[in-house]
């Protein structure tokens, strides 16, 4: 029961943060959706990092390392340490500048202007939402699974069907409710504050988890002896990349580029107070990635040793929760679970707010410019309404997705990243290539959407974890196809007007 009480206290603190941030709310849609462009370097760092790290980074990385060993770090973490800051630098900074100059709040508003196409949202909106939804579901399901794992046996009579633990549907519901509450109350400012708190918490507790689990898994009196015992008990093939194909490793270099087209990251970029606010995230992000991923990958790799005693049928997403429960005291178990939930929630909040923003701005076409105060208040009301709708919809979809057997958190995440990586050439071309045309952009978006759905269905909706198309990982196939179509169609179709090109490529 103690872990649940600690988790409860943590959730109450989050709610209090949401309410506190609401006191600074200016009542305008710009303030609700972009915190009035007031986010400084520290909050931007924590928001971007917290949003990037989700259950995929903690629960997924541990589970995947349990299966594949230490190669997972190079596959996902060090590549992100190198290339996420590149995206902040070449995409984020420029997007921020254009957003400030021209008043953009969403990606679609930017593309409408850049492509001289009022209808590009009709194509891009469903594609963005369709690909981001699996990412949201990962978080909701991950939260439910984590709470279930830590509470097993606490309620043997009430929840006998879920091994005496809080059922996944209930855990997910509570988490969705708390995130909804502080996003609803505080908007982007509440999200940024909550992200800073959550990111600090999950990083600190992640380090503590590592130290505790070293002793638990290694089983020796001394810390260093336990480290050695834990590593030396592992099968050597998990300590190398003997079974990891070089081609797969190379293909995964494309994964970090997905961040360039995440709509919720786009929205965070626009909240920056000034260009200098980007410097801290660009420099510190690689270190934060290392602090979170290295312990998780080591723990997952250690867990693969037979002596650790992971049950054979335990889902990969439940491995971290299992280890925490079996190798730490009740208080620490509660704190560590709160840390895992913090990582999950710090992504969910931005995703919910962003989807609500897109519905308000891109579907309903609400704008803040030239509108009356009452009209702007109505926009805030609509945004809040859409956030509620999105949370409810995602929760129901998560419950349905939870029925599916065999789909790993890691695999579902990779499918999502693959789709966004395939859209990266679009944002890169929009910012750096004068030759990008409306037709080229439409063709690239549609190619990505159709091809992504086709490949996903061909991979048994994510169940085939070793899927390849023409011998290539799906991310390579998708990026190559979208790029060829984008360039090819743009070369033979009409460019935007000189006025638009001058606007986006000013001569300085």
């Amino acid at each position: 029961m103690t872990p649940l009480i600690i988790i409860g206290i943590y959730l109450v603190i989050l709610l209090a943060l949401g309410v506190s941030s609401n006191r600074l709310f200016k009542g305008t849609s710009l303030d609700y959706l972009l915190a009035s462009h007031s986010i400084g370097p520290f909050l931007l760092l924590m928001s971007l990092f917290g949003t990037t790290m989700t259950s995929f980074s903690l629960v997924g990385s541990t589970g995947e390392s349990y299966a594949d060993g230490i190669g997972v770090y190079g596959l996902m973490a060090s590549s992100s340490a190198l290339l996420h800051p590149l995206c902040f630098f070449i995409i984020g900074l420029k997007v921020w500048k254009l957003g400030r100059d021209h008043g953009y709040t969403t990606q679609i508003e930017f593309f409408k202007d850049r492509l001289e196409s009022r209808r590009v949202g009709w194509v891009l909106f469903p594609v963005l939402v369709g690909i981001v939804i699996p990412y949201v579901l990962i978080g909701i399901l991950g939260a439910g699974i984590t709470i279930n794992a830590v509470s097993r046996g606490v309620f043997p009579d009430a929840f006998s069907e879920s091994s005496g633990g809080i059922p996944i549907w209930l855990g997910s519901l509570v988490i969705c409710g708390v995130v909804l509450a502080y996003v609803f109350a505080g908007g982007m400012r509440g999200t940024a504050w909550a992200n800073a708190f959550q990111t600090t918490l999950f990083m600190a507790l992640g380090v503590i988890t590592f130290f505790v689990l070293v002793k638990g898994i290694g089983g020796k009196a001394g810390f260093f002896e336990s480290l050695q015992a834990a590593s030396q008990a592992v099968d050597p093939d998990k300590l190398s990349r003997e079974h990891m194909p070089h081609r797969l490793y190379f293909a995964f270099l494309l994964v970090p580029f997905s961040i360039g087209m995440f709509p919720h990251i786009f929205q965070h970029w626009l909240t920056a107070r000034d260009a200098n606010a980007f410097k801290l995230p660009i420099v510190v992000h690689p270190l934060f990635v290392m602090i979170v991923w290295a312990p998780c990958v080591l723990i997952g790799t250690w867990a693969s040793a037979k002596s650790v005693g992971i049950p054979e049928n335990l889902p990969s997403a439940a491995i971290l929760g299992f280890l925490v429960k079996h190798h730490s005291g009740e208080v620490l178990s509660g704190l560590l679970t709160a840390g895992i939930l913090a990582a999950i929630m710090s992504s969910l909040d931005s995703q919910f707010l962003c989807l609500g923003t897109m519905f308000t701005r891109d579907v309903l076409g609400r704008r803040d410019s030239g509108s009356s105060e009452s009209d702007d208040r109505r926009t805030v009301l609509l945004a809040r309404g859409f956030v509620v709708f999105i949370v409810a919809l995602c929760y129901v979809l998560a419950l349905l997705a939870g029925q599916a057997k065999g789909v790993s958190v890691f695999n579902l995440g990779i499918w999502c990243f693959s789709g966004f990586s395939a859209l990266f050439p679009l944002i890169a071309a929009a910012l750096y290539w004068r030759g990008l045309t409306k037709a080229g952009a439409y063709a690239s978006i549609l190619t990505t959407a159709v091809f992504w759905v086709y490949l996903l269905s061909d991979a048994d909706w994510g169940n085939d974890q070793h899927y390849s198309f023409l011998g290539q990982h799906q991310i390579v196939s998708l990026v190559v196809a979208s790029t060829i179509v984008l360039v090819g169609v743009s070369l033979v179709t009409r460019r935007p007007s000189d006025e638009t090109l001058t606007k986006f490529f000013p001569k300085t």
Binding site: T28, L30, A35, S36, H37, S38, I39, G40, P41, F42, L43, L44, M46, I70, Y73, G74, A77, S78, S79, A81, L82, F89, L93, K97, R100, D101, H102, G103, Y104, A192, A196, Q228, S231, Q232, L239, S240, R241, H246, F250, L253, R273, D274, A275, N276, I282, V283, H285, P286, L287, M290, A294, L298, T301, R367, D368, S369, G370, K503, P506, T508
Partner: protein
Amino acid sequence: MSDGSWQNGCDMNRVPWLILLLLVAVHHDFWFWNDASLIGGWVPVGLAWHVALSIVAAGFWLLVVRTAWPVKEGAPLAKAASSSPPADATTGPKDEGSSK
């Protein structure tokens, strides 16, 4: 505030990008691929390489923001071309979350 104008691409000198290419190349460390040895008896050598690469990445990006920052300091914001002017552009937003 430094929300200034974007400099020409030529201002971003090529050296950082060559270093980035080198870092991406050494990310594919085929020389440690099948090596399961443990440094200090507990850190797999392949993991140690990539952790070191993450630290080097932070140093590299520090170099980039110091030497190739593409936004001019102190230049004014461009005049809004769309119908939606940047809010708070005249009064300036309040600072939040500054680490300075």
